[in-house]
């Protein structure tokens, strides 16, 4: 189910009514049942049969965690086998649904076969949110394997953790240690909680329906023209900036709605975005952009690979591996792999230059400002690969920018760029707030802002487009 749909409006009204009536302390069994059933319904609204895949993934991990607890720590081999079954199932599902077509194309490229002559792709729709819930499910088994978490006795509480509808389709990726302790905790819905949740929801819908969807109209219409021979540098750069705004507003908007709806239902979900275009280092970018994914990759991939504990070269290799896989996680295409490779290489270079920390020569203002420009430029270059349909298209757009010719932009570009303004203002406020020049927005100011945002949603929305991250 898409948050931006009347089906969701009706659906959430009913679930929220249950929270106000039968779930006033949040822990009532009837309300928990409502959450489980509604989460299943939310997922089945996409393709009903795919609820089976969700149940399969959750069932295997639930069973694996229980089995892991019964096997003593000394039986390392058996424990590894159990973990392998869990991870293999999840990664197998991902590989089957997401990467089989891509690997066939890669194989064709390597063997020189005509890709068009290959058997048609499976023609199976990607289960919505599979990249998110499989990661969430795997983190649970790994935490139990590591002894950091006790396995849940009941299947349905575990299923609720995996399928909790606000974060089911596109995150934030919640770790079991964050979610499970909240389940038995009472949470009454106070007015301040309601206002906080409503603020998150309104700001999320504003980011999505006003900013992202309007930016998408321009990006979708003109992106391929950015690769044309006669496209000027100004136009191509404008397109890249428009997409960087679109993807932020789209994904951060989704995350805000997810956090807001969860909060109204009595659960806190972690922050997923924190003004990423303020980041003055690549490390900091990943502490601000899709924070729950970068945290997952760090804890379940980078650290197990050895992190920075085995020397400099190994650290750089680990960074590259993590970011390449992070790119591949987004989708089965060369462009995503290049996007990951750019970020991996950038993180490695930054570490090599000791610019990932606020000490040494990196403390100098000129260096920090210069490196900020480098970071944001590289992020922008990476977005061009992320959005492009092919490597060739990305290369042509970047070539047009690099040509440094014809910086003129017309009224259309200027008006389109107005939809970037709220994103820029948000970043500016966070910048000021982080330096304690201003405090958090006061509730009355929030109320006025929220009224303005709802008004903008009603009068400036731009059709209904799926969230970008639904395809991942």
């Amino acid at each position: 189910m898409n948050f931006v749909s009347w089906a969701f409006a009706a659906f959430f009204t009913i679930v929220f009514a249950a929270r106000l009536t039968i779930g006033r302390r949040k822990i009532e069994p009837a309300f928990v049942l409502v959450l489980i059933v509604s989460s299943a319904l939310f997922y089945a609204w996409h393709i009903p049969a795919y609820i089976g895949i969700l149940l399969l993934s959750a069932g295997i991990d639930y069973w694996a965690a229980l089995w892991l607890e019964r096997v003593p720590q000394s039986a390392v081999g058996r424990r590894r086998w159990i973990l392998t079954i869990s991870l293999g199932t999840n990664l197998g599902l991902l590989a089957f649904f997401k990467y089989s077509g891509f690997f066939m194309r890669v194989l064709a490229d390597l063997t020189g076969e005509d890709a068009a002559a290959l058997p048609p792709e499976l023609g199976i729709a990607l289960p919505m949110g599979i990249s998110f819930y499989t990661f969430q499910s795997m983190s649970y088994t790994i935490d139990v394997y590591r002894g950091q978490l006790k396995a849940l006795r009941g299947f349905w509480p575990f299923f609720l953790f995996i399928s909790f509808f606000p974060q089911l389709v596109a995150g934030p990726i919640v770790r079991a240690v964050e979610f499970l302790p909240q389940m038995p905790r009472r949470r009454r819905l106070r007015a301040c909680v309601f206002y906080e949740g409503a603020w998150l929801i309104v700001s999320g819908f504003f980011l999505k329906m006003v900013c992202a969807d309007n930016l998408a109209v321009y990006v979708d219409e003109f992106w391929s023209r950015g690769a044309a021979e006669d496209a000027g540098s100004g136009f191509a750069l404008w397109l890249a900036l428009m997409f960087s705004g679109q993807i932020f507003a789209d994904f951060a908007g989704y995350s805000n709605i997810a956090r807001g709806t969860a909060y109204l239902l009595g659960y806190r979900l972690p922050l997923n975005f924190n003004a990423p275009y303020l980041a003055a280092s690549f490390k900091n970018f990943w502490e601000r952009w899709h924070m729950t994914l970068s945290r997952w990759l760090r804890d379940y991939l980078y650290v197990p690979l050895g992190g920075n504990r085995h020397g400099r070269v190994r650290t750089y290799v680990n960074l590259m591996i993590v970011m390449l896989l992070g790119g591949l996680w987004h989708g089965a295409a060369y462009t995503f792999i290049v996007w990951g490779a750019i970020h991996g290489a950038a993180l490695a270079v930054e570490r090599l230059l000791h610019l990932h920390r606020d000490d040494g020569w990196g403390q100098q203002l000129a260096v920090r400002v210069g490196w900020y420009a480098v970071v944001q430029s590289v992020v922008l270059v990476a977005w061009v690969y992320f959005r492009s349909q092919s490597m060739e298209e990305a290369g042509l757009i970047l070539g047009n920018i690099a040509a440094l010719q014809d910086w003129s932009i017309g009224p259309r570009e200027t008006v389109g760029a107005l939809f970037l303004l709220p994103i820029a203002l948000h970043h500016a406020y966070v910048w000021v707030e982080e330096r304690r020049l201003l405090g958090p927005v006061a509730p009355p100011t929030r109320a006025v802002l929220a009224a303005g945002m709802v008004y903008a949603i009603v009068t400036l929305y731009a059709g209904t487009a799926d969230f970008i991250y639904f395809q991942f």
Binding site: A7, E221, A447, G452, V454, V458, G463
Partner: protein, 329 residues
Amino acid sequence: MLTTSRTPARGEPVSPGLLFGCVFGLLLAVTAGLWTMWPGLGHSMNIRQVEPPSDDHYLAYDGGGNIEHQVLYFGLDGEAIAHLRRADVLLLGNSRLMFAARPGVLGRFFESRGLRYYALGFGFREADRFPLAIIEKFDLRPRYVVVNADGFFSDSLSDAATATVSDSHFGAWRKRWEAEASHAVRRVLHQTVPNWIDLFGRAGFLWRREVIGYRSRSNGTWEVYPWEPASLAVEGRDMHLPPLNIRETESALRFHAAMAARGAELVLTFVPTPKPMAGGPALFAELLGVPLVTSHPFGLGSHDGDHLDHNSAVVWSESLVRELGRVIQ
């Protein structure tokens, strides 16, 4: 219900909820007042002025959401499919054909010959594969298939068609339900306040205003809003340009064979457009050995730089049926 953590003291700031309601209400009131009173502000299309032309029409497109692909591919509207199955003549092509095919003119012509027609064209630069999939799915057996050759023979699916054929029946039903619910809410909401983009168009997209489209169940033709007067002349074209490529050739031959196997006679046409022509209809007709019925009446115009305006569409339909009369008995 909601509980507050403490009782507000006298002199405390106003409740955020109340403040929100006041500001939002004020914005709505000012907008509604301006919209009603400001001269010329309501002159453009807005959804509150749009009505389905008749009970025969269903929603095909609104607010960025296209659902006619789903409706026809999954047979979500039984009446539309029944008419489609009974059609003796199918009109196929992209949105240019759908704008140009005017039911009043076509209806009179085909009725006079005892034939039933159905316009099975689609927007989004749809080409041959999607209508062929529908023809095969419902085992249609028309006597004539009239194709707007403009970009039709390309063996491709539009994005909308690709999404449709990979969807499920439930997914299609859901999408239609959501689109119709959204349309109904928009019609109520925008009685009070406009969507500024719908009202004035998008800056820089002079001809790309949001359109609302309804489709006839009985003959498949479109009624679209807004459909403003022509602002651009449509020039005549050399029908022998550009050259065919292998993909187009193979696609055309395959499509022709598929129609012949169903006992249908293929007829080609070309709907004039100010946009660059995507295929040379005369060359396709020569290749396939089928009649080409084209005409370019004087004074055709376009309202959006792509499709014919309403008056031009009527004129073109009249000229089409005059030409068709020579090949359709």
